[in-house]
């Protein structure tokens, strides 16, 4: 494939990326605007209910500011433009959670924790799930393979956060290995203690994601794919030629299941993110999920909107990157 074709493909894909993002945000705006409630009054009720602000003067200032934050002043067109500007700069004004602090800097503070958790759990479960699935398909008749299959069918439909609740029950209540409340993390200096406290806080959330996605989806899909590839003529022929088993698995089977699984990784990103957000909230793990939970309980729309916008970017970007590197893995993919 020519370099020029590659460039054109990449260009079209990037333009499409921006177009979908733009529409996605416009749709979000429309949906939010169609809702038959007043966001600002919602926030004010929430705040006064919690007794955060007593001074009526301050409340009025806040109300005015909120109307501006939500872009509820000016003509609909102006409001829409202001919203778009907020989306593209990811700046939705001050947060209510930690009042003068901008929502953006709150999100930036919590973001690395979520990225870290997502990155490790996704990689670990992808690798473990695919390997186990492949092995179980190769040793189809063994008892272990059948047990794993049964476990996978049970685990697959369960969301991470339900698994999280089960794990809290088992590993924090029944067998108290982990603390019932989320363990706090101290980040004063980077030493062994800090690392240990991070590990302690991250293990259960990570475990609930890894168990479900490795033993559920990745296991099942890789097993199905391997079974299909195993039945192909060229694999049969390789066996008949007397090639060593290791070589067949590596060159004939693995490469062919890798491909669809990489695509699936891109498609799974959104689901993984969504599930992880709630899992984080359950474990009080200091990621975006916890921030979102706190934002919801204080009625902090600017922070919530920032997180949702960021996740839209994240998922779209993940899919874009995978689309772009796909031809590197699959020489058969042409750029049209």
């Amino acid at each position: 494939m020519s370099g020029e074709g590659l460039l054109r493909f990449a260009l079209i894909r990037v333009v499409y990326f921006f177009a979908t993002i733009f529409t996605a945000f416009s749709l979000t705006y429309l949906l939010l605007r169609l809702m038959p409630v007043n966001a600002v009054e919602n926030v004010i009720t929430q705040i006064t209910a919690q007794g955060m602000i007593y001074d009526p003067e301050a409340l009025n200032i806040l109300r005015r500011q909120l109307y501006e934050i939500f872009g509820l002043v000016g003509s609909p067109w102006e409001q829409y433009l202001r919203y778009l500007r907020g989306v593209f700069t990811l700046d939705f004004g001050p947060s209510i959670l930690a009042f003068p602090t901008p929502a953006k800097s709150l999100v930036v503070r919590y973001l690395p924790w979520t990225i870290g958790l997502l990155f490790f759990t996704t990689i670990i479960s992808w690798v473990i799930g695919n390997l186990l699935g492949m092995l179980s398909a190769l040793k189809e008749e063994s008892i272990l393979s059948k047990i794993l299959q049964g476990v996978a069918v049970t685990l697959y439909p369960i969301p991470y956060y339900v698994m999280a609740l089960v794990l809290i029950f088992l590993l924090a209540y029944l067998i108290p290995i982990f603390p019932l409340s989320g363990s706090s993390i101290y980040m004063e200096r980077l030493d062994l203690g800090t690392v240990l406290s991070i590990l302690r806080a991250a293990t259960l959330p990570a475990l609930s994601i890894v168990i479900v996605s490795a033993l559920g989806w990745w296991f099942l899909s890789s097993r199905t794919l391997t079974l299909r590839v195993k039945a192909e003529d060229y694999v049969e022929q390789a066996y008949l030629r007397g090639l060593p088993e290791g070589l067949i698995v590596k060159k004939y089977i693995m490469r062919n299941i890798l491909l669809p699984q990489v695509t699936a990784l891109g498609l799974a990103l959104g689901t993984i993110f969504s599930g992880a957000v709630i899992t984080e909230a359950i474990f009080a793990y200091p990621g975006l999920g916890l921030l979102l939970f706190r934002a919801i309980s204080t009625g902090d729309y600017s922070t919530a909107l920032s997180i949702v916008s960021l996740s839209i970017y994240g998922v779209a970007l993940g899919t874009l990157i995978l689309d772009l590197i796909y031809p590197l893995i699959d020489p058969r993919v042409g750029h049209r």
Binding site: T28, N42, V153, Y161, F273, V308
Partner: protein
């Protein structure tokens, strides 16, 4: 063209479905286990019609009472606000299933319709519809739901909740239906049908729909599953209809509202967690069983 009353015609549509269900039940173990569990769950939810009126008040029963066999109210213990866990659970199963089934009815049909129109008409209509669908696919489902639920939480009702969850669960089905319709449209039997000059809606209903029906059934089942999960997820964040019993709100009140595990009140959060998992596994078994049988028959239910 023979005229039939509408009801008979609708009945005709469901006849293959019933025959198919019976057949699957007879020959597929997964389907049998899944359907029986599901029926048991629905029956458990149905018990809730017998809920005694005092269940809706707090502190009628002693609080934090462990399970005992002395009366049906305390058979599964009581909550920290003095309500019966048993009655709460039956109501929760019913309400969650109602929300989920409503969602499946709305979302899967919207998806089917949009996919059919886009795939069958093609051209500009197709491109417009698919562009909107793609943009919805890009928006991660739960964060969108969270944002909407946050705005609406004071006025949420059961049908509203179903509508809300539907917003995030129609785009994928629409995409898949479109892909199937596009390939079906090119097949010979469809072109022949079009050439005979029968009306468009009949081509869709008689030639294309039978090939989509099996898939539609799986999709509806999966949407029920997704909706149950979404409701639990929203609840954990405090964004469900917190004043009624659902699987999600039971989990919310027992684990987040009144962290009951700290006080050793394990009988309150355990039932909703177990019931949620049972719902998930049974629905999944049903949907995979249908998928397996369809794979061997290339999508036609007859």
């Amino acid at each position: 063209m023979r005229k039939q009353p509408l009801l008979t015609r609708i009945g005709e549509l469901f006849k293959p479905l019933v025959r198919y269900t019976l057949l699957l039940y007879k020959f597929n173990l997964k389907f049998r286990v899944g359907l029986l569990t599901l029926t048991a769950l629905i029956l458990f939810g149905a018990i809730s019609v017998a809920t005694p009126p005092h269940h809706w008040k707090w502190f009628v029963l002693p609080k934090d009472q462990p399970p005992s066999l002395s009366s049906i109210d305390v058979i599964m213990g009581t909550t920290t606000n003095g309500r019966s866990v048993f009655w709460a659970s039956t109501n929760a199963v019913l309400n969650s299933l109602v929300i989920a089934i409503l969602t499946a009815l709305i979302a899967s049909h919207v998806g089917l319709f949009i996919g059919l129109v886009a795939g069958y008409r093609g051209g500009l209509i197709d491109r417009t519809l698919m562009f909107i669908t793609d943009s919805f696919v890009v928006i991660p489902q739960l964060p969108l739901l969270i944002l909407l639920a946050m705005l609406l939480r004071d006025i949420l009702t059961i049908p509203f909740m179903a509508l809300l969850i539907s917003v995030s669960s129609w785009p994928w089905p629409a995409r898949q239906v479109r892909a199937m319709v596009i390939s079906l449209r090119e097949r010979e039997f469809v072109s022949t049908a079009i050439l005979t000059g029968i009306p468009e809606w009949q081509v869709i209903l008689k030639e294309i729909m039978p090939h989509l029906l099996g898939w539609h059934l799986i999709n509806a089942t999966n949407t029920v599953l997704y909706a149950i999960g979404a409701e639990v997820g929203l609840s954990v964040l405090g964004l469900s209809i917190l004043s009624i019993d659902t699987l999600g709100t039971m989990i919310y009140w027992s684990m987040i509202g009144y962290p009951s595990l700290f006080r050793g009140v394990w009988w309150w959060p355990l039932p909703p967690i177990i019931l949620t998992i049972v719902v998930f596994v049974s629905l999944y078994l049903v949907s995979t069983a249908i998928a397996e049988s369809i794979e061997s028959k290339r999508g036609v239910i007859s």
